[in-house]
């Protein structure tokens, strides 16, 4: 039997796992097309957290009683799941954070402050979410390093031709880009960027917040040095994310937050740091959230990330085709072959706030604004866009409802 076939995902069946998708607004479920901002949560995750809080909750580590041991096992079990999810060589390389943003700040501060200086270059892309842009801009400023952006072309894809020119301007020390753009859905050529970064002697930092929910992630295949994810975008709870980092680098780095839990010994004279990953986990962690994160990973894995990716690809193709029929709509971003399940667009002459407001009354939830990508908005020459995004529970009828809603927007305000 061939093992290469990707199982097809049954979105209608999966929808039954999500309590919110059963709720009615004016007699119909909301077409929730804003999963790129945060996903809905399946019962499997909610139940795992309730169960943990009800029967296994205590603070983790150092507890002698059985309950603390159970809590620790659940917390550390979640770490192993995250490690397997990104194909990390060791779970010691997985650090729990509050979200992707904190993971990226951890690298920017703990690696950047000690390793950057005048003459060095920090390179990000014009597509970046502010969380992978602002920390680097700030730490570059604090250390005297220069900050550079890789521009995009008209289709929203990185212009790799400029890399040679950037390298000629100084010593490239950090390359930080997203794997998938949250505004345009662009899938960036991270393997190529990693190869280039390593040729320069730079570290490669990957923001996979928008990729991990939707496609398989393999840090060893990507070859990168750090990778950040957030549970809340991948069916897990808010309040927890993870940083994967290459062990040698994490070991060389100074800590980020300091306090309990991250130490080995403390005296008035000197404090020594704990082992990985605890060196980077000061204070009580997001315990139940991590357990929910683990349950979310189990949930996604049971469906199959390949199947999710394919499902969203089909939806995106359908959405782009439907929107292309409307000549008063401008869509942004690359062709569907190099795009994840995200479609940004504008309605001729109508501000996204008005578009989203009218769509809300039609029971369609999409987001309008700059999507935390102001440099990209500037590049596109717009003040904001509308963004529809899809997930494993999205069905084509919801895209039909989006299109019908847009017709209404056009009729009312156009």
């Amino acid at each position: 039997m061939a093992v290469t076939a990707i199982a097809k995902l049954d979105a209608e069946r999966l929808r039954a796992d999500f309590p919110y998708l059963e709720e009615l607004q004016n007699g119909v479920p909301v077409a929730f097309l804003d999963s790129a901002a945060s996903s809905q949560k399946p019962r499997q995750v909610l139940d795992a957290m309730t169960d943990f809080y009800s029967h296994s909750y205590a603070n983790v580590h150092r507890g002698v009683y059985r309950l603390a041991e159970r809590a620790t096992d659940a917390y550390e079990g979640a770490r192993v799941k995250v490690a397997e999810f990104v194909n990390a060589p060791s779970e010691r390389e997985v650090i729990f954070t509050r979200q992707a943003t904190e993971a990226l700040n951890l690298v920017a501060y703990a690696w950047g402050l000690d390793n950057l200086g005048p003459g060095d270059l920090v390179v990000v892309s014009e597509l970046e979410h502010h969380s992978n842009f602002v920390p680097w801009q700030y730490i570059a400023g604090r250390t005297g390093a220069e900050f550079r952006t890789i521009p995009i072309d008209e289709a929203g894809e990185l212009q790799l031709e400029v890399l040679a020119g950037i390298a000629a301007e100084g010593q490239v020390k950090v390359v930080a880009t997203g794997l998938v753009s949250n505004t345009l859905g662009t899938v960036n050529p991270v393997e190529k960027l990693t190869a280039w970064a390593h040729e320069q002697g730079a570290i490669m930092v990957v923001d996979a917040a928008q990729a991990a929910p939707h496609r398989p992630i393999d840090v060893q295949a990507l070859g990168c040095d750090f990778l950040a994810i957030s549970a809340h975008k991948m069916c897990g709870p808010s309040g927890v994310g993870a940083l994967w980092g290459r062990r040698e680098l994490l070991e060389q780095m100074s800590p980020f937050n300091l306090g309990g839990h991250m130490i080995r010994t403390v005296t008035a004279v000197e404090t020594t740091w704990g082992q990985l990953p605890y060196k980077f986990e000061a204070g009580t962690g997001p315990i139940a959230e991590a357990v929910g994160f683990g349950a979310a990973i189990d949930y996604l894995s049971s469906i199959g990330l390949d199947a999710i990716e394919r499902h969203e690809h089909e939806l995106t193709e359908y959405a782009l085709t439907r929107l292309a029929e409307l000549d008063w709509i401008e869509t942004y971003g690359p062709p569907v072959a190099r795009r994840a399940g995200i479609v940004s667009f504008n309605v001729d002459g109508i501000h996204p706030h008005d578009v989203c407001q009218i769509l809300d009354w039609e029971g369609v939830a999409i987001r309008g604004g700059h999507h935390c990508t102001q440099p990209l908005m500037h590049r596109l020459g717009v003040i904001a866009t509308n963004r529809a995004s899809f997930y494993l529970y999205t069905v084509p009828e919801e895209i039909d409802r989006l299109v019908a809603g847009l017709e209404k927007v056009k009729k009312s305000l156009g």
């Binding site: 501000h351 706030h353 008005d354 407001q357 009354w361 717009v382 003040i383 009312s412 305000l413």
Partner: protein, 142 residues
């Protein structure tokens, strides 16, 4: 009345489609601009005074129907009035004129123009600028 008709009242749509006081004064006595970074709404205002009276107001901007219509209504509300009095104009007076229910997010859209006007008056006439406008969490003015 449908939700659409409530928010996009006929008068709002009229101000949105045919904004009053649209444009820029060539020789203004005061200028200010403001932004709502959340949604990217932008408004700039130029003012002319005749003594202490606002003799002309023009605005330009990009943004949603509510922000643009509200600013258009504002220009009608303030021309010919005393600068110091307009500087004290309670936002309720404008909101009453707009006359529609606004969620917290849309309220910011509706009040952007008023904030820019108050900043312009502060610059041109030195009128006091209440703290809610000088250090708004959500709107930024220049």
């Amino acid at each position: 009345m449908s939700e659409f008709d409530q928010l996009y009242r006929e008068v709002i749509l009229d101000h949105y489609r045919n904004p009053r006081g649209h444009g820029v004064l060539e020789h203004p006595d005061a200028v200010a601009e403001g932004q709502n970074p959340l949604c990217g709404d932008e408004i700039s205002i130029t003012l002319a005074f005749d003594g202490d009276t606002i003799s002309d107001v023009r605005f330009e901007g990009r943004g949603c129907a509510i922000s643009q219509a509200a600013t258009s209504m504002l220009t009608e509300l303030v021309v010919g009035r005393d600068a110091a009095e307009v500087a004290r104009l309670p936002k309720e007076e404008l909101l009453e004129e707009i006359g529609i229910p606004l969620t917290p997010v849309r309220l910011k859209c509706a009040l952007l123009g008023l904030g820019v006007l108050k900043v312009a008056l502060n610059k041109g006439k030195g009128t006091p600028l209440p703290e809610e406008w000088s250090s708004s969490d959500d709107l930024s003015f220049r």
